[in-house]
């Protein structure tokens, strides 16, 4: 009698629906309008990204978002050549962590450039059709 060695299964539902919370929702609405904002904590007098309804530095409540200059600085980047399974990507993709002057935190996003470098100034390339997601910014380009 040969043992049955494997049993296939999927752990899935159709879809998760995530909400962004009161502050995050306002932030996403800003993106939809093509505006980049950061959360503002009045106690710490700090702006931070990504926004949350609490301040990660003093744990107090955060309600306000303030527009920021949409020009960031590349703090680190990588050129992705292969996917998780080791297959070559059709097109190399540049992923970066982008900081904004005077703002704590930052954004992880794609860059469109052949010559990424740390310290490079970048600005968002907005999509025509926006729906209130971080991908309303298609990628960042050199500013």
């Amino acid at each position: 009698m040969r043992r049955v060695k494997y049993f296939p299964e999927v752990m899935e539902i159709e879809a998760y629906v995530y909400t962004a919370g009161p502050v995050g929702t306002k932030w996403l609405e800003g993106l939809r309008e093509g505006r980049l904002m950061a959360a503002y904590c009045p106690r710490c007098n700090k702006l931070f990204l990504p926004p949350k309804m609490y301040c990660p530095y003093c744990f107090g409540e955060v309600e306000e978002l303030r527009p920021i200059e949409p020009v960031g600085v590349v703090e680190s980047y990588t050129v992705i050549e292969r996917d998780f399974n080791g297959e070559l990507l059709k097109e190399k993709r540049v992923l970066a962590f982008i900081k904004f002057p005077g703002v704590e935190g930052g954004l992880v996003h794609f860059l469109k450039t052949d010559k990424p470098r740390i310290g490079m100034k970048v600005a968002p390339k907005w999509r025509e059709k926006r729906q209130g997601l971080v991908t309303d910014i298609e990628y960042f380009v050199e500013a």
Binding site: F7, E9, M11, I13, E14, A15, Y16, V17, Y18, T19, A20, G21, P22, G24, T25, K52, M53, Y54, P56, C58, F59, E61
Partner: protein, 395 residues
């Protein structure tokens, strides 16, 4: 564990508790729900996050919130920023396990003030329905291919209990009625119904006989938090600390199709452990108020018997006689329980601990039980009907 040294280094107290609303859908992110509860607990204790040494998180399956490594994700909202954070997990029993784990954080002397937070956001698993997620709790090889619904196992346990004890659905429905009415005094409650009657439960949609819709607690989003402190710290923080007197938990075998479901032996063992530590030998007399886990109405009865608050098959009788009402001799689930306040899984368990805390401090307002409260108990249950967690608290 009879030979154990029960003179612990540090007595442990609860000094603050906080809750969010419990609702079918909340807009806040899981991190933000955890923050809302944590913030309220800290404020009640008069502390800030700086005062907290360690954080303990409790949350049930990652598959609800839809975040893998949910403990890592929640840490920030739960106050785990540059701090030791651990997430403990015993399925549905997690909520009451959170203060158990927090207890040894303090009792070991390694942490002085601990923030314990439980969160669940079931609404994320929106399509097709959060209940679908429960499909993945079954044995993936010998059970899941039968395409089960979670309610099956509970219906099987309920039916076995009814069969062995000769309990009628009418008697079980009384629990649902009591808890949904009790919930009207709870500011977080999702399902308060001051006018609900036994007939409403008996006429509600039949899901998996003998379980009908009003026999079951709802799908909920929510969070809860408590602050624990060592004796020295607790005395500094408040004049009315509530002591954790006993902790206990047990996991029965995974193979639930191999054992009798009529009596929750695992709850009995868990309770024995907690009672031994708390010096309780007659729980029916020594426990003034209890919050046994009630995701289903029969479960309250089942757990009362497991906890030794009623003899086997006696809980339905006590319920019928009104003993378990808020003004009764043994108030059970004065908060409104999961059936009334809602069931964001881990958060619901910790809500019960918060309720006992407030009952002992006399701060439950409209929900305050009539008899004086010196000692209370919270209990939760989970996994494949195999986990029991118990905390005994007192002044």
């Amino acid at each position: 564990m009879t030979s154990r040294n029960l003179n612990f280094k540090h007595r442990v107290a609860v000094v603050g508790a906080g809750l969010t609303l419990f609702r079918r859908r909340l807009q806040e992110t899981p991190q933000e729900l955890a923050w809302l509860a944590a913030k309220q607990a800290l404020e009640e204790a008069g502390l800030t996050l700086k005062d907290i040494d360690c954080v303990v998180i409790g949350s049930a399956p990652d598959a609800f919130d839809g975040v893998h490594m949910k403990g890592e994700y929640l840490a920030e909202g739960a106050g785990g920023i540059g701090k030791p954070v651990v997430r403990v997990f015993v399925g549905g029993a997690t909520g009451v396990f959170v203060p158990i784990a927090a207890w040894w954080h303090v009792a070991s002397g390694l942490c002085k003030r601990v923030l314990a937070v439980a969160e669940e956001k079931m609404s994320h698993a929106a399509k097709p329905h959060p209940q679908y997620v429960f499909r993945y709790i079954w044995d993936p090889i010998v059970e899941k291919p039968l395409n089960p619904n979670l309610l099956w196992i509970f219906a099987m346990e309920m039916h076995r209990y009814m069969y062995k004890c000769g309990v009628k659905k009418e008697d079980i429905a009384l629990v649902s009625v009591k808890n949904k009415r009790n919930a009207c005094g709870h500011p977080s409650a999702q399902l308060c119904d001051p006018n609900i009657k036994v007939e409403d439960v008996l006429n509600s949609e039949v899901l998996v006989w003998p379980v009908q819709r009003l026999d079951v607690s709802p799908v909920s989003d929510g969070a809860a938090a408590v602050v624990l402190a060592s004796e020295e710290e607790a005395r500094r923080i408040t004049d009315t600390p509530v002591w954790i007197k006993g902790i206990g938990w047990t996991l029965d075998t995974t193979h639930w199709t191999n054992r009798d479901l009529a009596f929750p032996e695992y709850v009995r063992r868990a309770a024995e452990m907690a009672y031994r530590m708390a010096g309780i030998d007659n729980p029916r007399k020594q426990i003034d108020v209890a919050e046994p886990y009630d995701p289903f109405d029969y479960k309250e009865l089942h757990h009362m018997e497991g906890l030794g608050l009623a003899r086997k098959c006696e809980a339905p009788i006590l319920t019928r006689e009104g003993v378990t009402q808020r003004d009764g001799d043994l108030p059970i689930n004065p908060s409104g329980g999961l059936l009334g306040v809602g069931n964001p899984i881990a958060a619901a368990g910790l809500m019960k601990v918060a309720e006992i805390f407030w009952q002992i401090r006399g701060e439950a307002g409209a929900r305050q039980v009539k008899k004086p409260v010196y000692t209370g108990l919270a209990q939760a249950w989970g996994d494949l009907m195999q986990a029991g967690t118990v905390v005994v608290m007192g002044i």
